[in-house]
Structure formats: structure tokens, C-alpha cells
């Protein structure tokens, strides 16, 4: 049963990832990504990481995906939204991706790491302790980063800073 559910979720993940990779429509790609992200959150639950799973949904679905959808909607005019995500150079990309995948599988097979049987554990409290004890410095740095981010994003999108450049006129043939 568990394996079955796992396989379903894994299949959904792979399906979402493949949609992201191969869809010609940017909005479908984004939806594929959304599917993959939610499914990965499900995988996290298999790995006893419910807090991370919830974080994943909160941040990716509630934040990043909304932002990406905003971005798509703001930058895609009219009808071409379904076909403005062209795929080019598929052959070399496939080649490189295949090489990378084979390499990864090779590494997984030859890693020689020892693994233990994992078990479900309540994690929230312990993650809090880790964050505020061992990883307090990166934690604070992330907060600084986010402040910088807020300010930076705000400054970047201020109207008066944006210089609207005239679209280059197509030159008529010289007579």
C-alpha cells in the first residue's frame, strides 16, 4: 500500500517535471511545476519531513508559484501565451541531459554509502532547535538577505527608475 502510494506520487512528480521540461505553453509548464512541487511535498512526508513539506507548500505554492504566475501573466501579451515558450536546440540539450543523468546514476550506484532504516519522527521542535542553535548564523543571514531582497525588489520596480526605451524602428530599405 505504502509503496503503491509512493509510486503514484513519484509518477506524478515525474509527470509534472516532464510537463515542465517539454510543454510548449509556458502556463502549462508552470502548472507542471506546481504539480511536481506538491508531489515532492508528498515525498517529503514519506521521509518523515512533514514540517519541510508544509513549508514547501506554503512557500512554493503560496509564494513562488503565485509570483511566477504573476510574472507570466504580466509579461505575456494576448494569445501568444500558449506558444511563447519555444524549445530550441533540443538535440544537444538531450545529449547533455542524458550524460548528466547517466553520470548521476553511476554516482548513485558507486557511492558506497551506508544507509539505515529511517523511521517517522516528530520534527518541528527539533528543527526549531537546530535553526536557533547550530544554524543560528545562516538563519540570521537569511533574514538579512530577505530584508535586502524586499528593498531591492522595491527599488528595482520603482517607476521613475525605469527608462522606457523606444522599441527600435524597423529600418526601411534605403532608396
Amino acid at each position: 500500500m505504502k509503496d503503491g502510494i509512493f509510486l503514484c506520487i513519484a509518477a506524478v512528480t515525474v509527470f509534472g517535471a516532464l510537463v515542465t521540461a517539454f510543454s510548449r505553453s509556458i502556463i502549462n509548464a508552470a502548472l507542471g511545476l506546481l504539480l511536481a512541487l506538491v508531489a515532492i511535498a508528498g515525498l517529503y512526508i514519506f521521509l518523515s519531513a512533514d514540517f519541510v513539506a508544509v513549508s514547501q507548500i506554503l512557500i512554493y505554492v503560496g509564494g513562488v508559484m503565485v509570483l511566477l504566475l504573476f510574472g507570466i501573466m504580466l509579461t505575456s501579451g494576448g494569445d501568444n501565451i500558449f506558444s511563447n515558450n519555444p524549445i530550441m536546440g533540443a538535440v544537444p540539450a538531450t545529449l547533455i541531459t542524458t550524460i548528466f543523468g547517466l553520470l548521476g546514476i553511476y554516482v548513485v550506484n558507486t557511492s558506497g554509502l551506508t544507509f539505515y532504516q529511517g523511521a517517522y519522527r516528530a520534527t518541528t521542535r527539533d528543527i526549531g532547535h537546530f535553526l536557533l542553535r547550530e544554524y543560528i548564523l545562516p538563519f540570521e543571514l537569511v533574514s538579512v538577505l530577505i530584508v535586502v531582497l524586499i528593498v531591492g525588489a522595491g527599488v528595482m520596480l520603482r517607476k521613475e527608475l525605469v527608462i522606457v526605451r523606444q522599441a527600435p524602428q524597423k529600418k526601411e530599405g534605403k532608396k
Binding site: 508552470a30 517529503y44 519531513a49 504573476f70 524549445i87 547533455i96 548528466f100 550506484n109 547550530e134 531591492g152
Partner: protein
Amino acid sequence: MNFLFFEGISQNPNSYLILAIIIFCAGIFTVLTRKNIIGILLGIELMLNAGALNFIAFSFFRHESADYSGHVFAIFVIVLAAAEAVVALAILLAVYQQRRSVSTDDISDLKG
């Protein structure tokens, strides 16, 4: 080939690692083939998630007792991914306001 290392697929670390590789490869393919910058961003998100999945998997399988460093790293990855998405989209919108395009072909002024 020790693909099925432990009993049960859901309890086998390699299944998670292989899944992560697949997601990562999908991400690489997306990144390499897209001309739309948002498409590239989507690929990057996929790759980051593959990495986070690896972190969680190793945290689950590599320790006899509880150790949540992997979780913490996964959270950092998620947060940084969000940050990166925000900055990237801000830049993207600024570029779009200037050039009315988000294709990498049109944003190639920086030539050697």
C-alpha cells in the same frame, strides 16, 4: 546493480536519489532549451527541489539517531529559492518594461 537496496521501494534511499536525478535532469533540460526567461526560472526551481529532496533523503537514511541538518538545509534551499524567484522576477519585469520581451534572444546586448 544494487538498485533495490532495501525492502520496499518507498523505504529504499536509491529510489529517492534516482527520482531526484530525474527531476534534476528535467530541470537541466528545461534550463537549456527555453528561450523564455520564466521557463528558465521554472527549470531552476526544479533543480533546486531535486537538491532539497536529496537533502531530506540523506537526512532520513544516513542517520541512526535523529539529525535534522538536512531538513534545515532543505528549508534554507526553499527560502533561498523564493528569494531568488523574487529577485529574478523583479529583474525580469524591469527588463520587460524596457524591451517588451522576455526572450533571451532579445536580451543579448552584453556581447564580448
